[in-house]
């Protein structure tokens, strides 16, 4: 099927009406939005609805790695430019992924809390809304980041990135580590080595100390201009010091 985007005005309307639509979010659906083409526009690129329909999770099994891969494959060749457009993801959370979002982030009984939850996970609010909070876009962006890792499969890289939320936040929210492919790859490779053995590098203090070391090194050297082997050497030195 062709990817659809809500019109900007519809996104604004939905966001303003979360409180009024609470019951629809809890147990109803938004089919009425899909049934009226005035609410959305269709683009040229194809997405795989079958793969999207397989995105699901249970209470005790969030299936984050599998879901990231399914989402990444389902969205085909979407560009980063388009993947930054909230209207695409908000369409998905209100339609094809409605049931997944409810399972992944069960809507609280308390109305005030429910509104906050819905705004966070059905919409894209704030600077990190697209890559961190929206239930559909976060899956794609994590897979997209991990797909750039040299030397690890997408599944291996995702398993590392998603294993510990503090580690993930430390990597993803620092531009130095998330934007440069060589630095990102070097860190994930080291994490993967640890993941296979004792997972010590995932310990909060240890990993923070390594990141601090990398930051210090990046203060006097342009890490992004170094070959990956040199970055790896600096990283290994930091890991050694953190032991």
């Amino acid at each position: 099927m062709k990817a659809r985007f809500f019109k900007a005005v519809k996104v604004q309307e939905l966001l303003a009406a979360v409180g009024e639509n609470l019951e629809l979010y809890r147990a109803g659906n938004f089919d009425f939005l899909v049934n009226d083409p005035a609410n959305y526009f269709e683009t040229d690129f194809e997405i795989n609805a079958d793969k999207l329909s397989r995105i699901d999770c249970g209470k005790d099994n969030l299936k984050e790695v599998e879901n990231c891969i399914l989402m990444y494959e389902a969205m085909g060749k979407i560009s980063h430019y388009l993947a930054r457009d909230e209207r695409l993801w908000i369409y998905l959370t209100h339609t094809l992924l409605l049931s997944y979002v409810r399972n992944r982030w069960p809507i609280p009984d308390d109305d005030e809390k429910a509104i906050k939850y819905i705004r966070n996970h059905f919409f894209c609010i704030g600077a990190r809304g697209i890559e961190r909070d929206n239930a559909s876009s976060r899956l794609w962006w994590m897979a997209s980041l991990c797909n750039r890792t040299d030397g690890l499969s997408l599944e291996e890289a995702l398993a590392c990135l998603l294993f510990q939320s503090d580690v993930r936040a430390n990597i993803v929210e620092r531009p130095t580590t998330s934007q440069n492919i060589r630095i990102f790859s070097a860190i994930l490779k080291k994490l993967y080595e640890s993941y296979k053995v004792d997972k010590k590098l995932f310990e909060r203090d240890r990993f923070r100390s390594v990141m601090k070391w990398l930051n210090l090194a990046g203060g006097v050297k342009l890490l992004g201009a170094l070959p990956e082997i040199k970055i790896m050497n600096i990283l290994e030195e930091g890991i050694e010091k953190a032991n």
Binding site: H80, Y81, Q179, G219, K221
Partner: protein, 277 residues
């Protein structure tokens, strides 16, 4: 590595607003252009420290530009010994704020670097540098990449009909995402027909559209008005930023001329001189 004028490196770095060097400058000029499939960046370097230039010529250092887009996690490091370089990127790679950080970076260890302009506080040298050390750094430059920002400014204007307007009057509305140029139904029909003719389009550009752009700029200059979140306001502000235009620094008519790429030139060529297309 962010540019920070207060930062102290453990070795001398040629930077703006730094006294690591008594004399000498390093500057980069950066321009972005967008076509259907590509974002093109053209970078030029000016370096007046002869000793650093010599290290580049010897192959021990190179010019490096780091282009980063936080919104798409894009980062590309462009290295060259040349003073000018161009690079193309996929149109989908960047969106929103793009930062360009220019440096001269050590590529191979430099064992004996001497420059008379280095501040004596660092000692008399010679200095040693290893791979990745920074010899020179310019301030970061910020651009905004969005397809709408590289379209003509008039792309954020909609011509709409307003039934209660008389034929000779037109008004402009700024409340929507696109600026609404409101005309009577009869005038709308006439203008729609005129837009199919290149010469007539040039006249429209220099009349209704020019006045509307000027009013939009005037509104953005007004501290009592708030157009936050409106697409047209974002496009005009960011186009002005990308063109190096400070909205506070000039009158609205002058800014409109720059944003519209001096439309009077089109009037001169296609109407006054009657160049045929």
């Amino acid at each position: 590595m962010k540019f920070d004028k207060y930062k102290a490196f453990p070795y001398p770095v040629l930077r703006p607003e730094s006294d690591d060097y008594k004399d000498g400058e390093f500057q980069a000029s950066v321009e972005f252009a967008i076509d259907k499939d590509t974002i093109k960046v053209s970078i030029g370097y000016a370096l007046s420290a002869e000793e650093i230039t010599n290290e580049i010529l010897k192959g021990n250092a190179e010019y490096v530009c780091m282009i980063s887009c936080r919104d798409t996690y894009f980062q590309q490091v462009i290295s060259t010994p040349e003073k000018k370089i161009e690079a193309d990127f996929d149109i989908g790679a960047m969106r929103g704020e793009v930062k360009v950080n220019p440096y001269v970076v050590v590529k191979k260890a430099i064992t004996s670097f001497i420059a008379p302009d280095i501040n004596p506080e660092f000692g008399s040298g010679p200095f040693q540098f290893v791979e990745g050390d920074v010899l020179a750094q310019d301030e970061a430059q910020v651009f905004y990449i969005d397809r709408d920002l590289f379209k003509p400014i008039t792309s954020v204007f909609d011509l709409v009909k307003k039934d209660d307007l008389s034929d000779g009057l037109w008004t402009v509305g700024f409340e929507e995402d696109h600026i609404q140029i409101e005309v009577s139904p009869k005038m709308k029909e006439a203008i729609d027909a005129a837009r199919n003719d290149h010469k007539k389009r040039v006249v429209l550009l220099n009349s209704i559209y020019f006045a509307a752009v000027m009013q939009a700029v005037q509104n953005l200059k007004d501290p009592n008005e708030n157009f936050e979140g409106k697409k047209w306001a974002e496009v005009i502000r960011r186009q002005a930023h990308n063109k190096g235009i400070n909205l506070e620094g000039h009158d609205a008519y002058y800014i409109a001329e720059l944003l519209m790429q001096q439309p009077i030139k089109l009037l001169d060529a296609y109407v006054f001189k009657g160049v045929d297309l």
